[in-house]
Symmetry: C2
């Protein structure tokens, strides 16, 4: 397969952008990504685009990207795969270049969740990411659905609510220094444990906020990378995994088979394993999910995630820093943008210029889980090609 690299990356701050629409957020992220291309970039160099977006109520998504960014002369595909949308957009763009059809393409991800225009977008997002016939009428929107997994996980693993709080404290701490993060404040274990309950065992600080934002990546084929930069970040592996949608069909609530499948595919393509990962951005829409991710991604043995957070191994400075950006927990979570923004963070990590730099990072992993744990996407980046 023809090799593909990221040669530019940018994003808007994540937050409650009540004053900005999707038509403002898209060009903001795109302009930052273009300005990030070391040797300069002309928008006319784009030959195609993939756009990850779930819930924006502004209308026809591909056309709005074309219109607002002046990209009227290239094909644009909008795709949606619940919370795995952003990394699936990366994956499809990789195939577009690897096929030989294009040399230079754009990956965009964006969502306006804090939005009250013509539709109630939070509930639209919820209806789009679960089974409407069975789970939704039972109240299994995101907090309730993940709380079922978390409760069972705590029961079987021996982890406690304190371990969930440790994840929240870590990711809030990381987010403080990230100028793009939505919740830039330290919290304490006590604050997390004493916060109002959202869905047992999740308190307020166990939950990601609702966010608006956009992120962009400029991808180039190996033959043209040199035109744009001398320090490309290579997309070494991509993977997407599925699982049953309804909770009644999940055989084991303490693991996400979609993640296991996505990781297996991405590791195989990249020619690396979990031990090779220097830094990761994983899906921590709820704190317990980050613990389950560690195990599903192979970062530790089953039910041993609690030891990693107890020992600080996944904090910046530890053996395998996870969510140095602050993660969904602190950085925020506009679902279409999240996976793309994880790659923006990891590009900075692999170039040695991240806000919470992981020393000597050479191989990085981005991970999403969504669609009530029915879909996962994994992207593996490297400072060297495979």
């Amino acid at each position: 397969m023809r090799r593909v690299a990221i040669v530019g990356a940018g994003m808007t701050p994540f937050g409650e952008h009540f004053g900005l629409g999707i038509k403002e957020l898209l060009p903001m992220a795109l302009s930052e990504a273009e300005a990030n291309v070391d040797k300069g970039f002309a928008r006319a160099d784009f030959e195609a685009a993939w756009f990850g977006e779930l819930t924006t109520s502004d209308g026809f998504a591909s056309g709005i990207l074309a219109d607002s960014c002046g990209l009227l002369d290239i094909p644009i595909t909008r795709l949606e795969n619940a919370c795995a949308t952003g990394n699936d957009a990366v994956r499809n763009a990789v195939y577009g270049i690897a096929s030989g059809a294009f040399d230079v393409v754009l990956v965009m991800g964006a969502d306006k969740v804090r939005e009250t225009s013509t539709r109630s977008t939070f509930w639209d997002w919820m209806t789009m990411t679960r089974d409407m016939a069975w789970d939704y009428p039972l109240g299994l929107v995101a907090p309730g659905n993940f709380a079922l997994h978390a409760a069972r996980y705590l029961h079987e693993s021996g982890a406690t609510r304190e371990h969930l709080a440790m994840v929240a404290v870590k990711n809030h701490h990381h987010g403080v220094t990230n100028p793009k993060a939505q919740l830039r404040q330290e919290i304490t274990i006590e604050q997390a444990l004493n916060a109002p309950l959202v869905a047992d065992p999740f308190g307020l600080y166990d939950c990601t906020p609702q966010s608006d934002g956009a992120a962009a990546l400029v991808l180039a084929a190996e033959e043209v990378v040199d035109r744009y930069t001398d320090r490309p970040v290579w997309i070494r592996g991509v993977g997407l995994g599925l699982d049953r949608v309804m909770h009644a069909h999940k055989r084991d609530m303490t693991t996400f088979p979609a993640t296991v499948k996505a990781a297996k595919a991405a590791y195989a393509m990249a020619g690396v394993g979990p031990d090779d990962i220097d830094v990761a951005e994983v899906h921590d829409c709820f704190t317990a999910v980050e613990l389950i991710d560690y195990e599903d991604l192979g970062f530790c043995e089953r039910f041993d995630a609690k030891s990693l957070v107890e020992r600080g191994e996944t904090a910046v400075g530890g053996r395998l820093p996870v969510n140095p950006s602050g993660g969904l927990k602190s950085k925020g979570h506009p679902p279409g943008a999240t996976g793309v923004a994880q790659c923006v963070e990891l590009v900075e990590q692999l170039r040695g210029e991240a806000c919470n730099q992981v020393d000597g990072a050479r191989v990085a992993l981005a991970h999403n889980i969504g669609g009530p744990t029915a879909v996962s996407a994994v992207t593996i980046l490297g400072s060297e090609p495979a």
Copy 2:
């Protein structure tokens, strides 16, 4: 680029399937496509899938396809590009195979428009395919938006409402013999002209019905085609074009630049031109759109589409039969399925087994236009590879 062929094709009847959900329609179409593979097909042969879907209210689309069809071990990407969704799913699947990542993949398209469950899907579809800030509040849902184009087209081209009626009569006539078509009745010019007005100049018979349905294609890389069939249908060209979303920004209401761009890309990739096309399925969501399509696709000179229908050149038996399946007008239009179903029809045409067979057809073209004419997809198929 590695060559890609269709080795199996199938679809449900299009219609008002009030008794069937998306979870029934998907396996129906998939089973027919698999049964259509000459040398037999095992579902486990699929390595990936692309799923075109706009508006189904059942929930998480990729997961529902995986669940209902037992496709839990492959990556599935749901994509949406307004009425060009189906052919854009074909295009992305082609890149997936051409990249070398997969040898055998599934393309599905489906929608439930005649649906009154948890959301009003027709209006969701409308909000998804135009600009919500400006055009939608002005009443520019599909009939009104295309009526503006049609009125101007009639004014400038000299075509009349009789020419629109000729398109309706032709496509209804074609649909009568198509067992998959929704509206299987002949109509007359007089009926069309005297039907209740929907949006001037469109009467009832100028408009596609609202439809439910699903369609499926089995795609294979050239190296493995022989395993499945000795009469593959080759995907010779794919193209996607964009244009401005809002009507205030359209410079010329009598042509769709998105179609021109999509056709240019597809013709170039296929190495053919309009004169090489033996049969076409084009987007006739409204009769006037079929006339504009003829011109944008290069089937005739500008403003000369009326001559083609007057002379019967685009009827079966004519020089270049268009919409032998009955088109959207008679066959129906579940938007996510439409483009995939056009390819199902053209596979039958190129194999010499269509219900309205075009003698000696060797090169065929499928076309969609949507997102208030802001997006178009074109796929060119051939009985021989490029």
